[in-house]
Amino acid sequence: MLSFRPHTNTIPEVFGPRRGLISFVRSESNDCIKLETPGLLVSTSRGVVPHLSRDNLRRTNAIRWINVPFESFLERQPPLPTTLPLQPLLGFDPSRHIVALSLRDPNDLRPIPPNGDGHVSAMCIRGVQRVSPASYKTYVRDSKPDVVFALTDTCLSAPPHSQKRMTKSIDRSFDWLRNLLSNTTGSERSRNIFVNLAGGGSAGARRAFAARLVEPLEPKDLVDLHPLQSLDEGVAGYSSDLASLRASVLLSSHDELSGLIKDSLGSLSNAKARIATGSRSPHECLRMNRDIGFDLFDAQWAVNASHWGVALDFRFPVPSRLRDKESLDVGHNLYSEGYAEDFRSFIHPTEDVISLEESRCRCSACSPSFESDILNHSPSLDLSASHDTTAQPFTRAYLHHLLQTHEMSAHALLMMHNLTVADDFFAGVRSVLEGSPGNFNDEIALFENVYDESMLVMATAKEAWGTVDKERGKGRLAREQQKAAKNDQQPVVQTESTPQ
């Protein structure tokens, strides 16, 4: 059972930064998971956090709330998580992890056939699958997530979208939410439903959708959805999908986007949890927090950084020694030659700067430790185990080498690091909101000034990643040999005794 409690002394009117606590109690085991907010949620790809084996996932304390898009499992019927629920299937730790299910990956904006009144189009490896609300409901029931995102009709076609289309969108989203909530007994009905704020880029549609959520239900629905008086009563919180919202609007400025979200949230309870997916940068997270107030953010930018070879290196609030700098990179493009001989750990430039303000990054790349429990394959033979778990931080030079040589462990190390940086970033936000909330806006302005929001370093890294990927692929040696063949080299081993 999920509950969100905003800290009352921080809650503003409807909009503004807030601190809170998400608690999740697992009835079977009495595990209680607590998540301070604003905080981080992590999304999976095909059920795994990219590049992380299960043991590495467990080593990464930043991972607490995990979003699982169901769609990849549609490649088989019945889908795999209906035969074994998500937690055991995917190997998350029930005492530490909250697992949230949506149908689609909100950050997947690839063109897809449109939804219909009775189905949502979803993407799996075998192509597009149509999922009806009834099917989704059975998937939810059988895969037993802790939190569910209701089906939502998102328009992924190019804007502008007609009013008719928007009306359909909010009608469908409403119906699908109602369907999810209906005809289930109190114990079955998940109290942990999040609804996406439908209406796309249309302020009117968004207001209408929010209004419908809180409207008293029709008599027929009152029976089906007893004891709910409105759909909103059955909802634990609201999610805003910034990625598709950005794509639905012709001029996607911060003011435009936040205005649209406010149109939805304006008439809704500010005591319910708010999730934002698809933020483009930590800067955007800060502004969204400042102007609207969210409780959970995903950090696709941290995931992408891990794919592309960037070790994130930024803090909020900006540390003293950097406060007069401008346009610093948010991280290190470790593909760059400049790191080939840089034996420092990912984050700290010099040892003497480590202070209370800037504690060492506690990820498994910056603060690795060996396991104390090591497999022993011949117990009869004494091999006295080392009890010393001390390990040295991984260096930029080593990561540079791994990236240049196309080694996968680079991305595992970067993922553990970047998610931790993102997690620490939100911890920094919370500490400012707690300690000096009056400074929050100034700290945001400073952050925007000090760290390059365009994150050019990511684009540069991505390009380098692409080059290495191409060069290291199958047939590379053949290509090199072809190149050399042009220089008239003969592929033969010669010795002095071999006749020429």
Partner: protein, 421 residues
């Protein structure tokens, strides 16, 4: 190095030993996973060590090119560079020279080759190879040998054998001139192709250098020679090599699927260590190794199986309950799938060797061999070369099997899992 034999098999030539090197002890016999470019593909050193691995291999050729000696020196050696605190072995760089280079010319001085990356002609001498391996800093280093394909015939084979001996002397001289003999163990590599007489000569000559050599490798057996001949060469060498030195079979098992058997059979013949890319490579292609044969997790009939790869397997993948079905969903698509299988396969190989060590120690190695083969091959049939090789050291794989059910097959002993359609 400290080399203590803890027990010897009363039947075969297998033995259990503890080899203590500069970065701690390693129990033998053992299998060495290959961390070609200073990383076991996909795994961190913390993960690798947790699997129970105490000795890995780095490739000199690759490390010399990237990151290069300058960086390794600055890092303080390959251990520090990659964060591995246990034992490390490097090869000489000679094999890849021949296999990967566009043009290689062997002279008495060394091997002249052109780099496949920039075409520059470079000379790799025995001294240079040892110097590079000094910079890498592995606990066991290999001499530069004149490596010749096992399929080569004629005077070239003998020439290479004698040259390898001369190069061993140069390696020893250089190694000791740098005072490294107490921190890095130099291994000699026995050559001689597929000629028993040449092998014997080489072994005899190299035994003469015993005091300057930490161990012996058997080289030149990865050219695709018939398994029949392969095991006989291993046997000849292992029989004659000194018992108080570790024996390392290099790059054995040319055909991928047989590497498991190769090492197990070689252990019975008196080999203590072997390296192999097979378990880690096949993992990345979706194949999990089990005591009942390999599982190709890409096949359809695994899509519904909620079983783990192998019951009782202590690897992180199996012990966390990872089902074959979810692995099917992940392999070849998500790197996390490759990591999960890599962890399992490395542990499988380690368990195979651990079980062998326990059995040798307890005097039950022949039973262990019979049991492994029965489980692994079941009805498929035992490869004849395994039956022959083990028979030569007093183990009859067919013992206890009713004659009507005995099935021996020719060929490598590859085993694949096929689609049920």
């Amino acid at each position: 190095m400290k080399f203590e034999i803890l027990a010897s098999c009363p039947t075969t030539r297998a033995r259990v030993a503890r080899m203590t090197l500069n970065h701690g002890p390693t129990l033998l016999p053992t299998f060495m996973p290959v961390a070609t470019q200073a990383a076991l593909k996909g795994l961190t050193p913390q993960q690798t060590e947790a699997l129970g691995v105490t000795l890995i291999l780095n490739n000199t050729y690759h490390l010399n090119l990237r990151p290069g000696i300058k960086i390794l020196d600055q890092a303080g050696g390959a251990h520090k560079f990659q964060g591995w605190r246990r034992n490390l072995l490097t090869d000489s760089g000679g094999f890849q020279l021949v296999s990967l280079s566009q043009f290689t010319q062997i002279t008495e001085e060394g091997a002249l080759f052109s780099s496949p990356y920039d075409g520059k002609p470079t000379m790799l001498t025995p001294e240079e190879s040892i110097a590079i391996q000094h910079s890498i800093g592995a606990d066991i280093i290999m001499q530069l040998d004149d490596v010749v394909s096992s399929l080569t015939t004629g005077p070239r084979v003998e020439e290479a054998m004698w040259r390898s001996i001369r190069w061993l002397d140069r390696c020893i001289k250089y190694h000791e001139s740098k005072g490294r003999q107490d921190t890095q163990e130099l291994f000699a590599i026995v050559q001689g192709g597929l000629d028993p007489k040449l092998r014997e000569i080489c072994v005899r000559e190299m035994i003469n250098r015993k005091e300057n050599v930490g161990g012996y490798a058997v080289g030149g057996l990865s050219g695709g020679e018939a398994k029949d001949v392969f095991w006989k060469m291993i046997s000849i060498c292992a029989e004659k090599l000194p018992v108080d030195r570790p024996r390392y079979a290099m790059g054995i098992g040319f055909a991928e699927g047989t590497k498991l058997l190769d090492l197990l059979v070689c252990v019975a013949l008196g080999i203590d260590m072997a390296d192999c890319v097979f378990p880690t490579r096949t993992a990345r292609f979706g194949v999990a190794l089990t005591f009942r044969g390999p599982l190709n997790l890409r096949l359809k009939h695994h899509t519904t199986s909620l079983d783990t790869i192998e019951e009782d397997c202590p690897c992180p993948t199996c012990s966390s309950g990872t089902s074959r079905a979810i692995l099917h969903h992940l392999v070849t698509v998500e790197t996390a799938g490759a990591h999960a299988l890599t962890q399992h396969n490395v542990v499988f190989q380690a368990r195979l060797m651990g079980g062998a060590r326990e059995a040798i120690f307890a005097g039950t190695f022949p039973a262990y061999l019979r049991s492994f083969f029965a489980n692994y091959f079941g009805e498929t049939g035992y490869p004849k070369w395994c039956v022959d090789a083990l028979r030569s050291v007093g183990v009859d794989l067919l013992e206890g099997i009713p004659p009507a059910e005995v099935k021996v097959v020719d060929g490598q002993g590859m085993k694949w899992e096929y689609s049920e359609s």
